[in-house]
């Protein structure tokens, strides 16, 4: 450290500098672990509330999943997804990519999982609401909707569960849309979310970094298109098996 003073400083000046320096260090330390910035909470809450208030919407997504090989090498797999949601009890989710091509259809009574390439599907009776169905699928069958947590009305509470730190990183542009970039930390997981600025605070991108796995693999979803006024028809949320499809079992967890 070079002194910026040209002449030897007085003891009093030194002392006040030292106090100021200490204060700055402590402020910095607080910023590092000072919990969750109120503004970060507020922006996230506005977003989850806004999404919860949307009765029908579609979201086109681009998903990136990292797998860590035994050697430590990270391999990235990409897929695209199309989500169709009608609260309180309809969901259609399609995804296709390197690893898998699949479709989930929930009509309020049953959940169907269909894999077009193999022409096989499984169908199970499911609870009567979207939220119950997501929990049911996860708990009973280990079927996890990528970032399905966002579909819950209390998404904010689910996301913030266990979060110890949160900051507003700043403004960012995702898919040409200006967003607020937030970053949160919880035990074993860091996650970031980019929320559209303005009257429609929609989540535009989410990145999950898993800290308790070797090389901290990430899962990322970017919403390439939101449609808050979609037109659904009778087929959107129904699955009609064709003659060449075979029904198979969905193994209980």
């Amino acid at each position: 450290m070079k002194s910026t003073f040209r002449s030897p400083p007085s003891a009093a000046l030194l002392r006040s500098c030292a106090i100021a320096a200490l204060a700055m260090v402590s402020v910095a330390a607080q910023a590092q672990s000072a919990g969750i910035a109120p503004e970060a909470k507020q922006i996230l809450k506005a977003s989850t509330d806004f999404l919860a208030s949307q009765q029908r919407f579609t979201a086109d997504t681009r998903n990136t999943l990292e797998i860590v090989l035994k050697s430590g090498q990270k391999i990235e797999f990409n897929s695209t997804g199309h989500q169709f949601v009608q609260r309180p009890d309809k969901l259609r989710s399609e995804r296709s990519g390197d690893l898998v091509e699949q479709m989930f259809v929930y009509d309020g009574k049953s959940l169907t999982l269909y894999q077009p390439r193999d022409k096989v599907y499984a169908q199970v009776a499911a609870p009567g609401t979207l939220e119950e169905m997501l929990d049911f699928a996860r708990n009973e069958y280990d079927v996890v909707a990528p970032f399905g947590d966002l579909l819950f009305k209390n998404a904010y509470d689910i996301l913030m569960d266990g979060v110890t730190e949160g900051i507003v990183v700043g403004k960012a542009v995702i898919e040409g849309v200006v967003c607020d970039h937030l970053a949160f930390r919880a035990p074993d997981v860091d996650w970031q979310i980019w929320i559209q600025e303005g009257l429609q605070p929609l989540p535009r991108r989410i990145v999950i970094t898993t800290l308790d796995l070797p090389n901290a693999p990430q899962f990322a979803v970017t919403v390439t298109r939101w449609n808050l006024e979609p037109s659904f028809d009778a087929r959107t949320f129904t699955f009609a098996p064709q003659a060449d499809m075979k029904q198979i079992e969905l193994l209980p967890r």
């Binding site: 797998i67 690893l99 096989v120 499984a122 996301l159 569960d161 997981v189 899962f219 193994l251 967890r253």
Partner: protein, 167 residues
């Protein structure tokens, strides 16, 4: 600083020959080797696709770990749950299945004596992500099975992954 940088440069230059050693030649499907390695990651936890609910994630991973400990073939299922259905997997099928079968031979010796199953058949209930080669579909009681040299497999979803369960 410069030492770190030169070490990084070394790592990068080392990486290319290593890739060749690992069998990823430019003219071979790289995915094949990678997936085979991924298959070998016994009990590898999955990359979570949800930020929330650490408890949920933990539960899920414990389940995976238990599966791995129980059965070799199921372990490769667990390791590749998210890797299912890559084209290369079809090619990796034979080798993987043979390995799994060999590992289970001892364990299933008694079972074979009891049932009229071919020698070396994997234990009933074994879950694999890929079928051995040369399977033929065969319907019994309206259910389609895959007859793989006398061993019958039935397709099912485990989580969102298509698997085959030894009958």
């Amino acid at each position: 600083m410069s030492r770190i940088r030169s070490r990084k440069a070394l790592a990068v230059t080392m990486a290319l020959p290593l890739l060749y050693l690992a069998g990823i030649a430019p003219d071979s499907p790289a995915g094949l080797t990678l997936l085979q390695e991924a298959h070998a990651v016994v009990g590898a936890p999955l990359t979570p696709v949800s930020a929330a609910g650490v408890a949920r994630r933990t539960t899920r991973r414990v389940v995976v770990a238990e599966t791995s400990a129980t059965e070799a073939a199921a372990a490769s299922t667990a390791a590749t749950q998210q890797q299912q259905a890559a084209t290369a997997q079809q090619q990796a099928a034979t080798a993987q299945q043979q390995a799994a079968t060999a590992e289970q031979q001892a364990a299933t010796a008694q079972q074979q004596a009891a049932a009229s199953r071919p020698p070396g058949a994997p234990a009933v209930g074994t879950v694999v992500t890929v079928l051995p080669t040369g399977c033929k579909p065969e319907a019994r009681d309206g259910i389609e099975y895959q007859n793989c040299g006398g061993v019958y497999y039935r397709a099912a979803f485990q989580g969102s992954n298509l698997v085959y369960v030894v009958q």
